[in-house]
Symmetry: C2
Subunit: 312 residues, 2 copies
């Protein structure tokens, strides 16, 4: 059976998936990324994990694609910048992994591969133009136009987390102000929650006593139990996402927008405000057409990379 | 000689251009659009003008493309909505003109055809991904990605004038608040000028006594003569354009952005603030790559349509 290999490297874990073109998963595994050990170590450990996986399968992948959490440079075949994987920056990771695996390897931004997974697997290629919004620690994105991935002039297309939704607004990790990520990324959500719930500290009792390491999922579980302040937090997150989507839809006029990433599990809490924002636009054709989805699959980065490797 | 026919219908005039694929103009003419006389009259008058033009040339165009100032519906082959040409809305203008001209006719949004002109003629196809910003009464746009025109799911892609640059900001003609057009369209520029120059009225003496019908070009000529308030007006327009471009660049990562339309003649007055806004972004790869241009040709809508008709 022909299958592709998708490798999705994030700051903590690197996930490997062997999948058929249909998206059917044949085998998966993961390893610690440990970017601090450097790019050579990373390549050697990934190659070892691929060898183990293929021995287990008794078969060899026809192609491989590496999805990376960072700004991918297609000309050098490496990472220009990766806030969470600085140890892998400025190294020709594509050619090194290609030599180690003895086959061609493609590299892409992880949000772009998740977007391919949304387009090809979640939506079954029914919609030619798709925007994927990845909600996690940061806010990423990817664009499929007429069935083709948009990478942009420097491979940086789809960086929707840094589109501005509030001129001069909240400070973002990138140094800018008012970025979508500063409202819908993890620390942005927690900042909104702190502002809504009290004077800058989290009243733990209202958040179900989950201790020091509060996360968006705790705000979500409080909201599901009806806590008004937690619900208000998600309303504000939804308004920011709606403002970002309005700009994306005016520019790109997609058939579909798909939310993915861990924070997308809170979609029932923020989709109402998102839909209300889109409905208020008077330019009906693009806003009437676009359909909103929440991805069901949790590993679309690795899975999208596996499927993408087979066709490009 | 093979040539294409570009027909650019705006609220006041409809321009016809016969041009070779190289962009070389063989002949041009224009007629009053008079949308109030209805779509059937418009089609008949355009067909008459095409006949005159082709008799003058002694040759017949291989193909024709009609560029329309409004929201073009490819499925019906007509205009869904056109604020300045309501008389042409909801009529199958593509099939009617095709019958009248006895040849296939394509229809597209005028800003999209100007974008094709920017991509193919102004920039000579040197850059695969180009964003065109049309500055006139309104603010429009068009996108070329990897050498292909992006029309979007409903033909509405590139509506950059209604991207928000200021949440809850100035009221736009579309009913929204904070749209780019509300700062860089004609009435937006004049509103900024009124605010900068005095308490809501234009001090004519400082604007070179140009009477009641002040236009952005009058603010531009005052600014060129060093009037500080007029210069400040263009600085604010440039900041709004910079804010809009930041969002466009994060989303599409284009090789080039081209300004066109009548107000783009004021580019030397607003490009400084635009460039400063882009330089402030910390995400260097896309912002370091993008090049800014001002189109030299004034009729890129008709010319772009003529060239586009020959290849699509």
């Amino acid at each position: 059976m022909t299958f592709g290999l998708g490798i999705d490297a994030g700051g903590t874990y690197t996930k490997l998936v062997a999948a058929a073109g249909s998206g059917k998963v044949l085998r998966r595994t993961r390893l610690a990324t440990e970017p601090g050990r450097g790019a050579r170590s990373f390549v050697a450990r990934v190659a070892g994990a691929v060898g183990d996986l293929e021995r287990g399968l008794g078969s060899r992948a026809a192609a491989a694609c590496l999805a990376l959490a960072g700004d991918v440079d297609q000309s050098s075949g490496g990472l220009r910048r990766s806030p969470n994987m600085a140890g892998l920056e400025n190294f020709p990771i594509r050619s090194a992994l290609s030599r180690a695996l003895e086959r061609p390897v493609a590299i892409h931004n992880d949000a772009n591969m998740a977007a391919w997974g949304c387009y090809a697997l979640e939506l079954g290629r029914r919609y030619p133009s798709v925007v994927c919004v990845t909600l996690g620690t940061g806010v990423g994105g990817g664009l499929i136009l007429d069935g083709r991935l948009v990478t942009g002039a420097t491979g940086s297309a789809g960086e929707i987390g840094h589109m501005r939704v509030e001129a001069g607004g909240a400070l973002c990790g990138c140094g800018g102000r008012g970025c979508l990520e500063a409202y819908a990324g993890k620390s942005g959500i927690m900042r909104i929650a702190a502002g809504v719930l009290g004077s800058g500290s989290y009243p733990r009792s209202r958040l179900n006593g989950c201790g020091d390491r509060l996360q968006p999922r705790h705000i979500a579980s409080s909201a599901r139990r009806g806590d008004p302040a937690a619900r208000e937090t998600w309303t504000r997150v939804g308004r920011a996402l709606g403002a970002g989507l309005i700009n994306i839809i005016y520019l790109f006029n997609p058939d579909a927008v798909v939310f993915t990433g861990g924070v997308s599990k809170a979609a029932p809490l923020f989709m109402g405000p998102v839909r209300r924002a889109l409905r208020a636009e008077t330019f009906r054709a693009p806003f009437g057409r676009v359909k909103l989805f929440v991805a069901k699959n949790a590993d679309l980065g690795a899975l999208g990379a596996a499927v993408y490797s087979l066709e490009n």
